[in-house]
Amino acid sequence: MDGQPPLTRIVVWLGHLLVLAGALGGAAFALSVLAGGAAAPPHLALPRLFPFAEMSLSVDGLSAFFLVVVALVTAAAAIYGPSYLGAHAKAPVLQTFALAAFVACMALVCCAGDAMTFLLAWEGMTLASWVLVVSDPREENARAGLLYLVMAHAGTAALLVVFLTLADHAQAFDFAALRSAARGLDGRTRTALFMLALAGFGAKAGVVPLHVWLPKAHPAAPSHVSALMSGVMLKIALYGIFRFGFDLLAPASGPLPASWGWTVLLLGSASAVIGVLLALQQHDLKRLLAYHSVENVGIILIGAGLAMVLGGGRGPQPLATLALAAALLHTLNHAAFKGLLFLGAGSVLARTGIRNMEELGGLARRMPWTAWLFLLGAIAISALPPLNGFVSEWMTFQALLLGGVRLGGASGLLAGVAASMLALTGGLAAACFAKAFGVTFLGRPRSSHAEHARESPAPMIAGMALLALACIALGLAPGFAMPLFDRPTAELLGGLGASAVVTARGPLVLTAGGPVNGLEATAISMTVAAALFALLAAAAWVVSGWPREAPRRLAPTWTCGMTPTARFDYTATAFAKPLRLIFAAVYRPRRQIERETGPSPYVLRRLAYTGEVVDLAETMIYARVKHWVNATAQEIREYSTGRIHGYIGFVLVTLTVALLVFARP
């Protein structure tokens, strides 16, 4: 906060500390509710603002869990924020206030007990995040902000219809009344309402066809806000899907309609693969992370979809609970490592002012803390073993294999397809983050900014460290986190809590109460594997580093004898080239090479390469819709000639037509 006047600094710090306190308070309250077991959810009636709607807050298991997710990333962002804002801020006080409003709205959405509070908080969340996106009023930020707003508004319009139809049947707004009213509806309307709700929340969660705004809006916000938007706001949209799918629209008893689960599952798989494929070709650090949010939302939806399919008796009950626990755990994991990665990218942006990987490089030696925390986040997001990304993906695999695929027939095949998509996603994510970490932090600095980068101040590192700690804790001892999911899974699917299925004895051992088609045989222990890994690594380190008098020498990297310069390092574009060839159908790559040769064609003076990858959803759907809407509007506009005779003519015609049509009884 060096570059700001003292008063602003105090206000910003105070604001952020307030947000931190709120986050910690919220977390404590949520954990108490989660530990509360089957106790009735705390209910708080709000003052009657509107005569037709009684507003209230009620925090049940699901709300409490999502509150924990909100609190975790908010705490990190609050610690991180002030020092980030100092160097980078356009209107820090406004941003602090908007951040507080944004977090408050997100918490309110989770705890909303009725449709009115939910809708008000939901749009408040959108508006507050829009203010943060456009707080730095550059041209592309405004455009990104606009697309974000329009998509969010369209989503809200869909939600409005769902809420109001239910409210109309229930003649009340609170969730209990909506729940009972939904039970009265017939299957077809409930499915239509669910699909509408899925579209509404999907637009906000960045599910594939509706994800176009996400990579544009998230990078535009300041980084700790991007972390909040990607890590938490997408989860609030998923909370909506959980709330409607399992709770509000669920039938009184028996399984959910099959179409719900499979739609969510397939949307999730599509989002996962397409999200990570597009992320691979991005060279802007924050856009890459935003596309990855689409991927991880997909993974969560795969778990949720599977839980919807297996729930209510269609598949074995423990596996349904396992699938839901996997989805919720991945929600928490993604909040942690995506938040960490965005804060890391923010620290690089704060120090170098550059987001494009091609101009960075060699930052690991200059910003060690940021580099290794970013690497930790990269390993976690690529679902590689020691960390939490792997655990939730492992549980999703177990649920997919032992639950989904064993259903047999077409549904089994669909689960198989989802499993293969998930496996592919893991590999792609690892390749993407090898590129992201390698090109940004390793090798030689490719610009003066990267050359003179210095490590970020302590609070930023502390913010990142908090989330890294969460990743490590969830990675090494996931079993201890299982009780966190007991209440939500029990409430949503009834019966077993998550910890009953996934025994919480230190290591993550997947045992059910009694053998369910061989379920108890699969057991892994992250703790023991990690201990073994550490032991062996130490042993190898000692053996290879044995105090010997062998000479140690530093030499330039081997480049066939030439003296290596920064230009030698492999760029991100080159790194991702093989994938552009393999997935050419999805990318439709386009490239343009200008070759400026000297006197003879073989003397190359200048070579300029511009390559571009296309986001299919954007070009196929959005560009066409925008063009069509503008074209028709322009066409209609030609009709108003501005001649007064036309005006009078219209009055006359309207009257005569009205008389002809309506006058007769």
Partner: protein, 316 residues
């Protein structure tokens, strides 16, 4: 008592895999030389290379970060931890007392090793490190899902993904006797084993031309004991891959108790299976030419499709 016996079992099996790793590579090199009418180096040559490397000094790139020195140790640790999850001699009877990991964790650890190697290659900077890292990750992202699908196709029938349990059930349950999906899965696994162990059609282990090597390229900047660790890790990884194929598709021969004749029989069966697969590797190496890199995805695609079909047939 039960727990310590379990630990001893795991320790011996892992020790066996680590020690025999270089021997298998030596055998493959020897067989290749023979097929090409050469005498070839002795079977123990890899051990001598490792001993030599441990004694040599290190040359480190000036742009590398301190992390670069840690990469070899981490890669070796990841590979050996993966090795602990494979049932080599004994098939466990009841639920594991001290579970370490299942097939998904094994493949995850191998992926972690590949990721760390790629990061190490990028760390040194320079064109070759970047190029090899990019190619290795590309091959990785095609091989990993295929391996997982192959393992899943067998795990779905067995009802568990834990390799020990799976091998035990393989020969006991009639349902798991050989059917069409197993054949497809085996075919897929063999293709992917070639890629995983960095053999000819995908990558050439013996070349020194920087532009063509895939796995070797990542070792370019390592030297001395670090290089020894990575070389050992490569050998162990090769043996782990072969043992994984053996466990999934050739189950008989795993011992139950501790009686010496049973162990000897299990050892013999294990040796036979590994030699059979090693011979397959050597034969393929010396009879095919290396594919141009941008043709490799089609080759691996074949493996991916057959693995997926195995899973699909298992379900339908």
């Amino acid at each position: 008592m039960e727990r310590t016996q379990h630990i001893v079992r795991i320790a011996t099996e892992t020790g066996l895999l680590v020690l025999l790793g270089p021997l298998v590579t030596g055998y493959v090199q020897k067989l290749k030389a023979r097929l090409q009418c050469r005498r070839g180096a002795s079977l123990l040559q890899p051990y001598r290379d490792l001993a030599k490397l441990l004694r040599k000094g290190t040359v480190r790139s000036d742009t590398a970060t301190p992390f670069f020195r840690a990469v070899p140790a981490l890669v070796l640790a990841a590979t050996v931890t993966a090795a602990t999850m494979l049932p080599v001699l004994w098939a466990p009877s009841g639920p594991a007392l001290l579970p370490v990991g299942d097939s998904i964790l094994l493949l995850g650890l191998l992926a972690l090793a590949r990721f760390l190697l790629a990061i190490g290659a990028l760390d040194a900077g320079g064109a070759f490190g970047g190029m090899v890292a990019s190619r290795e990750m590309t091959v990785g992202l095609l091989v990993e899902p295929a391996l997982m699908l192959a393992v899943f196709s067998v795990a779905v029938a067995a009802g568990t993904t834990d390799l020990g349990e799976l091998a035990a059930r393989r020969d006991s349950l009639a349902a798991l006797s050989w059917q069409a999906p197993d054949l497809l899965a085996l075919f897929g696994m063999l293709i992917l084993a070639l890629a995983e162990t960095g053999r000819i059609p995908v990558d050439n282990p013996d070349t020194h031309l920087e532009l063509t090597m895939l796995h070797e390229g990542m070792l370019l900047e390592h030297s001395g004991p670090g290089l020894a660790c990575i070389a050992l890790a490569t050998h162990v990884k090769q043996l782990v891959t072969l043992t994984l194929v053996a466990t999934l598709f050739f189950p008989p021969g795993l011992a139950r108790g501790l009686a010496p004749p049973e162990i000897a029989l299990a050892l013999g069966a294990f040796a036979a299976k590994v030699l059979l697969l090693a011979t397959f590797l050597a034969v393929v190496e010396s009879s095919y030419a290396k594919l141009r890199f941008f043709r490799v995805p089609q080759f691996l695609g074949l493996g991916l499709v057959s693995a997926f079909l195995a899973l699909a047939l298992r379900v339908l």
